[in-house]
């Protein structure tokens, strides 16, 4: 067990935004919420998965909705506790042992910290994605057959709903419709899990990993190259491209922020180009027409100089970035994982190839 203070929160927000692969919301507003909560209620306890009891009960807390809405109409703060307690009562579980993040992303890495601070509960060093994904069933618990429901959803006005669905894709459909009606921003508690389930099906250590990533990115006494090397070593990643965004084509469809961006090579990649497709999160990267990284592996865009994560909502013509690819958690590389969040699910007509093989192949082709 250790305590998370203001400095850890700053680092976690940056690191989770990095793992958020372009989605997961505005790290700024999430960070301010968590800092306000910790300033009011004191630091939050962080437990590793090894420290929790198998029989104990845990509920994650998350925000659902458009990041550009939540940067304007953000929560009251009390709805986290409300939705959390509603679900606990519905489940008939009086003793909730702790909370944890659903995904690694700018906002959703922070919401459970707010809940933990407000309720005096510990936060568990574990999540259900190890990155960010656009849909509710894209969770490692789902891969192991755990139900997303019963699920509670609420807004800042006080409306609360409980869903019990026939499967997790229906949870996604119904929750999305409710979210739009609630003003495109809602708070949710779903995937209630036991300690044993978290140990078996969660992505462990993700809060600490986010913090370590954030520490590297925000340290200012090293240059970008050194920081990048350290970062790549930490996450076993690859720098896929150095480029400048020259075009962003966007479309809003079915409540998703879809699109692609074209990058023109700079520095080490001056003669090349890259195309990155996204649906809230970055999904596929093609370098000179050849796929070099694909979902469920992570494609992270960071500022060329500062390595600050770049969200898909803030893509800007002319911005200089590095594209970094990381292997996804092993659970995502199983058949069910690829079926749930692999390229074919998102409408790309090819099979998943792990990033390390794509990188090896690209190097071989080049030689």
């Amino acid at each position: 067990m250790r305590y998370l203070d203001k400095a850890s929160i700053e680092h976690i927000a940056i690191g989770a935004a990095f793992l958020g692969t372009g989605g997961g919301g505005d790290p700024y507003i999430g960070k301010l919420m968590a800092i306000s909560a910790v300033e009011k209620n004191g630091p939050v306890k962080l437990y590793s998965v090894d420290e929790i009891g198998d029989e104990d009960f845990f509920i994650p807390a998350a925000m659902m909705g458009a990041p550009s809405v939540s940067s304007e109409k953000f929560p009251n703060g009390s709805e986290f506790v409300k939705v959390f307690q509603k679900l606990a009562r519905y489940l008939g579980e009086d003793n909730i042992a702790g909370t944890y993040p659903m995904e690694a992303g700018g906002v959703n890495s922070m919401i459970p910290i707010v809940v933990a601070a407000q309720l005096g509960l510990p936060l568990i060093d574990c999540d259900g994605m190890g990155r960010a994904f656009p849909e509710l069933q894209m969770v490692t618990f789902h891969l192991d057959g755990i139900s997303a429901t019963p699920m509670a959803i609420t807004d800042e006005k006080g409306n609360i709903g409980i869903f019990e669905t026939i499967d997790n894709k229906w949870t996604e459909r119904l929750a999305r419709a409710a979210t739009v009606e609630m003003g495109a921003s809602a708070l949710v508690s779903l995937y209630p899990t036991t300690g044993a389930q978290m140990k078996r099906s969660g992505v462990h250590h993700v809060v600490t990993l986010s913090e370590q990533i954030g520490e590297i990115i925000s340290s200012n006494h090293r240059d970008a190259k050194e920081k990048l090397q350290e970062l790549l070593t930490l996450v076993s990643g690859y720098e896929l491209f150095q480029g400048k965004i020259v075009d962003v084509i966007r479309e809003t469809k079915g409540g998703f922020n879809l699109g692609k961006m074209n990058l023109e090579g700079i520095e080490a990649h001056t003669d090349g180009n890259m195309k990155v497709h996204f649906q809230n999160e970055n999904l596929v990267a093609e370098r000179n027409g050849q796929v070099v990284g694909m979902t469920p592996d992570l494609l992270c865009l960071v500022d060329y100089e500062t390595l600050t994560p770049v969200t898909t909502e803030s893509l800007k013509y002319g911005k200089r970035v590095r594209v970094i690819g990381l292997p996804a958690h092993a659970k995502w590389r199983t058949d069910k994982g690829i079926q749930t969040a692999g390229p074919r699910y998102f409408g790309y007509d090819y099979d998943y190839v792990p990033i390390e093989e794509l990188v090896k192949k690209a190097v071989a082709d080049h030689v």
């Binding site: 458009a66 940067s71 304007e72 400048k244 023109e264």
Partner: protein
């Protein structure tokens, strides 16, 4: 008919006169005084005496000033502010002033209230304004705050609640009481817009003193009939009444004026401009004659804001930058500089510090000071320093580019003699006569602008109708700022679609520009 333009910089206060054909009649420079006012008066007096023009023929007078920026950075002369956020029970998880520097919150008194109100992202009501709640608040704040900032959730979609609260404040505290409404200042992103609105509210006393001081200085010199304007940071002007409502828009008008002035002097509307000063250089991009705007949150005095700011980058390179060679033989240029002491410290002026200006003189790029004092410098070394200078400029220019092709570069500013004639990535380079007073020229040729931003739902209000609506509202802003309605044209349209909205909601921002009345 003459126009007078004055630009108060960190080091110098520049003043110029243009005739009705926009020809430069005369220019002067004098040191910026600590109180600023004395420096303005001195420049103005010198300008009028030396030029000998008929004062009664002066029709327009413009002032570009850094006083608002200084007030925020130095935390001086700021008003106490009350912050009213319309949106409760939403948004309470992050109260106003979260993540502000403590000393700034203390200066502004830290008073805030979260009250009912606000809109949803699609224009539906989030909460109704409770008039009694506002009246009670105003009774409690009586005498405690000197200015009020009003911020409504999604006021960028509908701002009638903010304006209603403004009317209530005027009803209770009087018509003259300064109120800043966020919908007129920043864009979507509540915290950043709130921060900008609070800063705007805090500047009400500074702008009052500044504008009054300028009008008084003009009157003392016998200029009583001229229309008086202040420079905004988008390269246009605003009337004094408008400036009193939006003092924050004067922030960063200096670099904007320089690049606008440069564009005017070379008669090119689309180009990159490098303004080289003594310690730093600013790079900006002109698009159709106006500076490109920054699209990311900008920090002002350590406070994150999202009001309109020019997209300008500054690098630590100027005519007084110090040149050094480290133990490993590596040459460094700047970022420190001898600054205004260049006349004593640079080698060519008999000093003992090697500066970029010395290198320029050694290589024959410039002829200032005593050339013989740098003849001992090895030519190969001087060329190596020049390569370093080129590298700094090259990298900065590349950051501002939006495509890989070569750009055209216009050079202005007193320090521009240190810039070599050929820079990688630059197709054509132009040096400008009178470039050293480009900022004051930029101030005096400016037009009047208006801007409007709102989220429109194209499925309900077609794109053409939405565009027309936004343009009409921007025109209204421009007229309010002092533009002639008949001369107004649309200069910029920006559309950003919003995620999650099933009906294609788009944030639309338009900008119009017109001539002065």
């Amino acid at each position: 008919m003459y126009r007078i333009g004055i630009d108060v910089g960190g080091t110098n206060t520049d003043a110029i006169i243009l005739d009705e054909l926009h020809q430069l009649i005369h220019s002067v420079k004098s040191p910026t005084s600590l109180d600023i006012k004395t420096g303005i008066e001195a420049s103005l007096r010198k300008l009028l005496q030396e030029s000998g023009i008929d004062k009664t023929q002066i029709t327009h007078a413009m002032l570009g000033t850094t006083q608002c920026t200084n007030a925020i950075v130095e935390r001086k002369k700021l008003a106490t502010v009350g912050v009213i956020r319309l949106g409760y029970p939403a948004t309470a998880s992050v109260p106003p002033y979260t993540a502000w520097p403590n000393d700034m919150v203390e200066k502004l008194s830290g008073n805030y209230a979260l009250v009912h109100g606000g809109y949803e992202y699609d224009g539906q009501v989030l909460g109704e304004v409770d008039e009694n709640e506002i009246r009670e608040l105003l009774a409690a704040w009586q005498g405690k705050v000197e200015s009020i900032a009003v911020i409504g959730v999604f006021s960028s979609i509908k701002n009638d609640q903010e304006l209603r609260v403004r009317d209530l404040i005027h009803e209770v505290y009087g018509e003259e009481y300064p109120v800043s409404c966020s919908s007129l200042i920043g864009s979507v992103g509540l915290i950043e817009r709130e921060n900008a609105t609070i800063l705007n509210a805090a500047l009400c006393k500074v702008i009052e003193t500044t504008t009054q001081g300028f009008v008084n200085a003009l009157e003392e010199e016998g200029i009583t009939d001229a229309a008086v304007y202040l420079c905004q940071n988008d390269g246009t002007l605003m009337s004094i009444d408008y400036a009193k409502q939006f003092p924050i828009l004067t922030i960063a008008c200096g670099p904007t004026n320089s690049i606008r002035g440069a564009s005017y002097l070379v008669k090119i509307k689309d180009t990159m401009v490098l303004d080289v000063g003594g310690t730093t250089s600013d790079i900006g991009v002109l698009q159709d004659g106006f500076p490109r705007e920054s699209s990311v949150a900008v920090e002002v005095g350590d406070i994150r804001t999202n009001f309109r700011m020019p997209d300008i980058i500054s690098v630590g390179l100027g005519g007084g930058s110090i040149v050094r060679v480290d133990e490993g033989g590596r040459i460094t240029v700047g970022p420190d500089s001898v600054g205004y002491r260049i006349g004593e410290e640079a080698l060519v002026f008999g000093g003992s510090t090697l500066t970029t200006t010395d290198i320029a003189v050694r290589l024959g790029l410039a002829d200032v000071g005593d050339r013989s004092l740098v003849s001992h410098l090895d030519e190969a070394f001087a060329k190596a320093v020049q390569a370093e200078i080129s590298a700094i400029v090259e990298q900065a220019i590349d950051k501002m580019k939006i495509s890989s092709g070569d750009v055209q570069l216009v050079l202005v500013g007193g320090g521009s003699i240190i810039i070599p004639d050929s820079i990688r990535g630059v197709g054509g380079m132009m040096r400008v006569e009178n470039g050293s007073v480009a900022n004051a020229i930029g101030a005096s040729i400016a037009q009047i602008s208006g801007q409007y931003e709102q989220i429109y739902i194209y499925a309900r209000e077609p794109r053409e109708a939405s565009l027309a609506d936004a343009e009409a509202k921007a025109v209204k802003q421009a007229v309010l700022a002092g533009a002639d309605a008949d001369t107004i044209e649309l200069v910029e349209v920006e559309e950003t679609p919003l995620a999650y909205h099933p009906e294609n909601a788009t944030r639309l921002r338009v900008k119009v520009v017109g001539k002065m009345k």
